[in-house]
Symmetry: C2
Subunit: 349 residues, 2 copies
């Protein structure tokens, strides 16, 4: 069961509540390099990225946000540290600010930023990172999930006291245990939508595994309203991995799911190649159906029954199973085409 | 905290209790093709596979186990369905049987198999699969985690009544939710070691993500004594992914861990390329140290402090940080070599 959270609007995209779990990313370009940043965002949009964040380390980057915003279609988020003036400039152009209010200036400066965000109905995401916790909290609690949550609550309180509630929160650590523990703790204390991710996850393969475990474990608990997979790699891969995690959990299915068995000594057909071909052919199918590609008669029929449609191999022959019934017995070499024929018919239904 | 389980011995490999979480796989070859099977197992051994299972669908495969066993170094497991005679033949050669006692014959036949396993001190793994549940349980509970656990308990009872306790259990479904729920339920009811996996996970990329989430979420709960990543792909990939999951959770670290930040507009060095180079160079290092490769001065130093050693980039320059202290400031082009020099020195310590 998904945890009930408030709905917060980022431009034209709602997150939290019953909205789909959103997939987002962050540009790796210099924000001041407007052309490169726009190009990267356009690539990300094509991959399905729904919210994009860019770093704003200086005034040149803040001013660049105007032109970037005018040239993209998805909500733009400015990532700001330490300097309230960058926030005041950014807030004119973007759909969300990511900043920790306690870090950006004195009381009056914080109020200026929060008032500007309130006036423009722009939410603020508080992003706690285990690597940059307040010294006094680390002293009190160690560098723990508890310290991260206390830090988040401190920043939340600053916003709430200024009558600001359009809040999204993240509490990311570079290890999975602390990350998961922090989100679980936080989720019990607040009903703001949560932005979930494991920070500094690492390069492509190991980062993907780390993010899948951390984000996945939280989503299984019903925690998480928007996710970001952090990879030291091409940003488009982050978006693909994000959707793959949501698909694996059947939380957001925009395309067919293939379940296929690992091959074993009972497999009489070339299953790896068949499963890959099926996946390839399904790329153009938009309907979220579950397709089983099974090798043998032991587990195959049972699993294929679970799926909307499936094939189950045998010696030279195979069967097509639809919603629990064997509808056709066909030669091995005709399995793929017969399966696709059935799937296309289902798509038209 | 890892859940306390009994220790069960499979050949010379112990699982459960405080033993390392074991990584295993299953051959995709025909077991009766002895040469191909031995070759595949040798490849798997090289990749670190610690227990290997092969399918035994017929008597020819059962008899082939003798020669296979003589030519490999890791424990061999026979996977048997429906036929107690295959179990009686296999038990002579292997280190573990994987069978569901209720499926292999009548009472007397089951007793023969269990007695043979007991005489040779060979454990039995019960493997429940959502795709082949007993009809009466599905009727009673639906195709749910509860039905899977009831099925497991039924098979366990058969063994226990025959005074057999060298038991390992798996309850795999093709979807993550049911898999995780079933293991969580089961883990509350028994203290036998658990073999954890998501069945029919799918092809390489999606299967890896699915397995990482399911296996990872359970390991985070302290559940799981041995894991198998099921992929419709090269079996060696299963073993690599298995170790990657254990490494991501810092449960079993046989080599250095690299944490690296996703690049963003604050990054002044070519971080993707640096992180990849560091990973490449670390391949020969056996010491389990944590190495941080960070791009900027915002989160970088904090995270690098968390690691045993790290680099943190800047404009043309970077710093080397060791156990929380900046030990050197170096030019960007010297970062990699300086980092490796420090790591090599740590390895010799």
């Amino acid at each position: 069961m998904r945890k009930k959270t408030r709905v917060v609007k980022i431009g034209n995209v709602e997150i939290g509540g019953d909205n789909p779990i959103r997939v987002q990313s962050m540009c790796s370009t210099k924000t001041s390099d407007v052309k490169a940043t726009i190009n990267q965002i356009k690539e990300l949009e094509k991959a399905g990225c729904e919210i994009i964040r860019v770093a704003v380390p200086d005034m040149e980057s803040a001013k660049a946000l105007k032109e970037i915003k005018e040239n993209i279609s998805i909500p733009l988020v400015a990532d700001i540290h330490f300097d309230y003036r960058l926030a005041l400039e950014s807030v004119k152009y973007v759909d969300k600010l990511r900043l920790n209010p306690g870090n950006i200036g004195d009381k009056e400066q914080i109020k200026q930023v929060v008032d500007a965000a309130k006036a423009r109905k722009i939410p603020i995401r508080i992003g706690i990172n285990s690597g940059s916790l307040e010294k006094e909290l680390v002293y009190k609690y160690g560098n723990t999930a508890k310290a991260m949550v206390e830090s988040a609550l401190k920043h939340i309180k600053i916003l709430e006291e200024l009558d600001f509630f359009d809040i999204i929160i993240a509490v990311k650590a570079s290890d999975i245990q602390r990350t998961v523990e922090a989100y679980r703790l936080l989720s019990e204390k607040v009903d703001y939508p949560l932005h979930v991710g494991v920070t500094e996850a690492g390069t492509s393969f190991s980062g993907m595994i780390k993010s899948a475990i951390g984000i996945g474990a939280l989503l299984l608990d019903g925690i998480g309203d928007t996710i970001r997979v952090s990879l030291t790699s091409d940003v488009v891969e982050e978006v693909k991995a994000g959707y793959e995690i949501l698909k694996a959990l059947e939380l957001r299915i925009e395309s067919p799911i293939v379940v296929s068995c690992p091959t074993c000594g009972r497999t009489d057909i070339d299953l790896i190649s068949l499963a890959k071909k099926v996946e390839e052919r399904l790329k153009d199918i938009k309907k979220p159906i579950k397709v089983a590609v099974m090798g043998c008669s032991v587990n195959g029929p049972g699993e294929a029954k679970d799926a909307d449609i499936g094939v189950c191999g045998g010696k030279g022959m195979g069967v097509i199973i639809k919603k629990g019934k064997v509808i056709k017995k066909v030669k091995e070499e005709e399995l793929l085409e017969e399966l696709m024929k059935e799937i296309k018919a289902m798509e038209d239904e």
